[in-house]
Amino acid sequence: MSDQTRNLRRVGIDTGGTFTDAVTADAGSGFHVHKVPTTQEQPARAVLQALEILVPSSAAVELVHGTTHATNALLTGRLGRTVVVTTKGMRDVLAIGRQDRDSLYQLEPRPPRPPQPRRLIVEVDERLDADGGVITRLTAAEIKRVVAKVAALKPQAIAIGLLHSYRNDAHEQRLARALARLKVPCVLSSALVPEIREYERLTTAWADAALAPVVAPALEQLEQSLQSGWAAGSRLRVLRSDGGTAAAAAAATHPVHLALSGPAGGLAAARSLADARGDGAVLTLDMGGTSTDVALLPAGEMPLQPMSLGGLPLLARGLPIHSVGTGGGSLVRWDAGGALAVGPASAGAVPGPVCYGRGGSQVTVTDAHLVAGRLRSEAFLGGEFSLDPEAAHAALAALGKPAGLRAEEAAAAVLEIASADMERALRRVSLAEGHDPRAFHLYAFGGAGGLHAAWVAARLGMRGVVIPPHAGAFSALGMLAAPPRRTLIRSILEVLPAARQRRAWFRPLEERACAELTAEGVPRSHLRLRRLLEMHSSGQSGCFALADGPRLLERFHLEHQRRFGYRREDQPVMVASLRLVAEGRAQALWPRHRCRRHQAASRVVQDCVFPESAGAGNARAGNTRAGNAGAAPRLRAAVHARADLKAGARLRGPALVTEYSGTTVVPPAWGAEIDAYGALVLQPEEKQ
């Protein structure tokens, strides 16, 4: 790294719904984490507060920030006044979308569409065909008319999306040149996401344009605060949805790439830890209060796919995050058909679970954990917040009564349902993509991940569970772990050619990515380029990305066989798009500690219910009674404070490991160990 970069103090800060987490890494003493309450109206205030505590103003700081600004602006519709320019006849493309409703059983559908007023959409008389050939020429007179019309609408930003511009961008480019004199951000769909499908491409361009007037000033202001509050050379980088970082100015230019900035942090951290541990592909489980996010991270390349936010499709690539409705705050009830049901309604933070004592009266998943003895009421959030086990017990007893269940039995039943929902989600993200989860570890983080992780991993037959260090501030760690990155996409839609032609296709993308990153101060010698082709068998839509290189065709057929169960060699292999990933070096984040294997001691024990080793889930144990929740064993579990466990410490289930941000359950017949990186690794004894 250059001298200038070396003197910078790097801090990762993630703005979450409740807390803003800040982390610095220090080669000698490890991570320093600081949490401050998020300041909802002005998120930057909490960011600067946290920063002041971790970095003295005499130092220069490089802040890597995970921002929810773009996400929230899109979800609430607080956006800049945007004019959309599109091909004649296509003015209503944004209003019509894909014409489907967001769920089947709706008598009054309200399908999500970009909230773009029709009067701010301008049609232009031009037309290309599907090969990019010109059918209606874009005349100088027409350009003049369009510019005048757009100017009269007084836009803060402009999005241009013409039919088939992913094939030929000449018309979009000419319009953009003419519109430049309005001096507002102007987004070209053909430059941002040159891919087929007009609604999705135009929606992406629209979102990018509409976000610019709100996101850019906020980032600019934060960077100015850094530069005035800390030493010269201080600067801001922002985590994008692809799990890489960009300089503030670049991030502000195309804010649509920030749509999943926050959640990308956890995945970037998981990938970085998995690389350090040599784990290959992993599944992630991030269980929060209202929902649980799951994702599959294959070895090597980060999997990127088009995103969806609030029902709007964004072609910009992001890490694939799949949310399910079950979180710690999910409400439990008997439905009218006599089934115990969990979620999707949530108690949220207020009133929250019954055990929070803030007025919640309906049982939640968190209450079930507490009654099952899987949470330590006095250790919750480092003891800053005490739980009310009696209230939770009474609520679960009342819940179980109609079915003749004791409180603990009812709790076991609730936890079983929540785990089944997570299992379904993990299957969807792995098996549906042709991966077999049995070869993977499950990386669990977020407040409640450790409570379910071993259970779900056992059901999926996975190798084990990894609870990273600082699992409660893991996203912020990801900000530190993420390298500077550019992901560029180019639509191709041609039969797979020879290597020489592929290299020629990639060249302009390489040049652009390198130029952008070196302009951000990334030394050219640090740049690593990865060339991927998103391919499919002719006529099929199932697209997947493979790295360019030797034997590409054969690797395609192998992958097709793995995903779909058969080879389709009689049809040509098509290249849908190119994906170029350029990145600088990531900070080496995970120092290896010396591991001295030893048995961890604990004098604290707690009675704890383990539904994971009970009931019908274990048919071979001879349990034949359906719903035999009573069979969940109640065992004496050793309680360990994670802070006391050094590298190499081993313990056997049943046990609980508590830390500030959450609790990890080690079920019977499972063992756990702190590895050289400080991660808590759980494995079934049979696999140890």
Binding site: R101, P109, A403, R427, T624, G627
Partner: protein, 520 residues
């Protein structure tokens, strides 16, 4: 509430997971845009009696037919382990000929545990016209009829059946590829069921299936018990050449829902007829949409429903009646009628009528290079205004929820050019909450093509409710490059020359509640 109640949702998640995975496998490996882009398919898990236990649904009309398939198969064939049955005969467990169904028994330790099924709409299944959905006089003219037959025997393809299939469809490469994808989805589902049996034991898996069916029954009954027991009647018509009356008398009694379609027209010539699966699907849909609790999609619901369908009628036709349009159009009208009956029972909770059609567009011909092309899509329109606000515009309603094909995909894959895709302003009926607008799509044929548009609500629009106005009816035209525009009658195929345009204007939704004064 019984002890099993604590585990029902566990089963529900796990069984749903099986069908979801089948759906992913099918979507990824299918060939035709209708399946991969428009998601016109569904996957199901059935118990050993053929009752529906779990369903990954995109298409409501498939839902009510899944449980009829296995009994129809068993009347003719006793499938064994490793067999895959194919069928599409609407009078023997199918829906309409384009929906090709594959179903396989699932055996465990020599015992039948259940069935896996998937159903996908093939863009062409032979017959008189490309797309196989135009106005044939009877079912023989609609396309290839597949009675239940073995497509695989002991896991080996029965090549004769595959060859017969390929020989009868206009695009055999796509047809065969889609069928292969359908079989691959079954294989994937079976693999997952094996895992569930290993984990729980097959007895427990069977018990889970029965438990979910009982649960669905209890949920549905509790919903029906909450409704008034008054008898109500509603009637509506199909306009156009298939003109037929649909009448439904509805009454909730002691936790059972009685629906009597006596008074509906006798079966008609042409393809506007339907059979029990369609009415069942419509009832399923309406119950789900009205229910305050989410009712899992199982046959348990149907145990609380008494459906009386007069024989040889438009709602329960017999061979050789055609059903191509019935499946997509009459199904919408049946849903409209059941909803109108519920509006009489439950009042202003119900919205006004939505567009009430799928606006089926079919065309086919030969490309410049001599290869054939066939295309099918359905178009959205106006949703009815309702208690929650104005109706949505240009959206699929009730019995379908398929996506449109993007203009860029359409033009890249077919010799056509789309000149206009727009919301059809002013087509929604006026009201306190007005109906949503339909849409307009204008497509130029770049090669000669045979064109059919099958839609209803072309003569009279979607009725308003509680004082709201009727929505504008739809309109379909062939606009030749030279000469006068011609009206395209529903279900009637016409030749279009290169340069001719098809213009479809879909109906608006009905208005809800009296419009504010001065607004009409």
């Amino acid at each position: 509430m019984n002890l099993e109640g604590t585990r029902l949702m566990v089963y529900r998640h796990l069984f749903a997971s099986v069908t979801e995975e089948m759906g992913e496998a099918l979507r990824h490996s299918a060939i035709s845009p209708n399946i991969k882009e428009r998601l016109d398919f569904s996957c199901a898990l059935l118990d050993a009696d053929g009752a529906l236990v779990a369903h990954a649904a995109h298409i409501p009309v498939h839902l009510g037919s899944a449980h009829l398939t296995v009994p129809a198969v068993l009347r003719e064939i006793q499938p064994e382990h490793g067999d895959v049955i194919v069928l599409n005969d609407p009078h023997r467990g199918g829906t309409h000929l384009n929906d090709v169904t594959v179903v396989a028994p699932f055996y465990r330790d020599g015992r039948l545990l259940g069935y896996l099924l998937d159903r996908a709409h093939h863009a062409d299944i032979g017959g008189a016209e490309p797309g196989s959905m135009s106005g044939a006089r009877d079912i023989y003219g609609e396309g290839l009829i597949l009675p239940p037959m073995r497509l695989l025997r002991a896991r080996k393809p029965v090549e004769d059946v595959w060859r017969l299939f390929a020989a009868n469809v206009r695009d055999p490469v796509a047809g065969r590829g889609d069928l292969e994808a359908q079989v691959a989805a079954l294989v994937r589902g079976a693999r997952r069921l094996v895992e569930l049996c290993e984990r729980f034991g097959s007895d427990e898996v069977g018990r889970g299936m029965r438990g979910l069916l009982d649960h669905g029954e209890r949920l549905t009954r509790s919903q029906i018990l909450a409704w008034p027991q008054r008898r109500v009647v509603a009637t509506d018509h199909l306009d156009g050449p298939g003109s037929a009356r649909i009448r439904c008398a509805l009454q909730c009694r002691n936790g059972r829902l009685h629906l009597d379609f006596t008074g509906s027209s006798a079966q008609v010539s042409g393809s506007w007829n339907t059979h029990a699966a369609v009415a069942t699907s419509a009832v399923f849909y309406v119950l789900q949409a009205l229910s305050s609790d989410e009712i899992p999609e199982t046959s348990g619901t149907l145990r609380c429903v008494d459906l009386h369908l007069p024989t040889a009628s438009v709602v329960s036709s017999e061979r050789p009646s055609g059903v191509a349009a019935g499946n997509v159009e009459t199904s919408q009208r049946i849903a409209d009628v059941v909803l109108q009956a519920f509006a009489r029972l439950l009042g202003r909770r119900l919205p006004a009528c939505s567009q009430g059609t799928m606006n089926n567009l079919l065309f086919g011909g030969t490309r410049a290079d001599g290869s054939p092309f066939v295309y099918y899509e359905t178009l959205g329109g106006g949703a009815g205004g309702g208690p929650g606000g104005p109706g949505a515009s240009a959206v699929q309603v009730h019995m379908t929820n398929t996506r449109n094909t993007p203009v860029e995909i359409l033009e890249a894959e077919l010799p056509v050019r789309v000149h206009l895709l727009a919301v059809r302003r002013g087509s929604g009926g006026a009201g306190h909450h007005p109906g949503g607008d339909g849409l307009v799509k204008e497509i130029e044929m770049l090669q000669p093509a045979r064109v059919t548009v099958t839609g209803t609500r072309r003569h009279s629009g979607a009725p308003g409710a509680f004082g709201g106005a009727t929505g504008a009816p739809g309109r379909d035209q062939l606009r030749p490059a030279q000469g006068r525009s011609r009206r395209l009658e529903a279900g009637e195929s016409q030749d279009a020359e290169a340069g001719d345009r098809i213009r479809i204007e879909t109906p608006g939704g009905g208005g809800w509640g009296r419009p504010p004064p001065g607004s009409m």
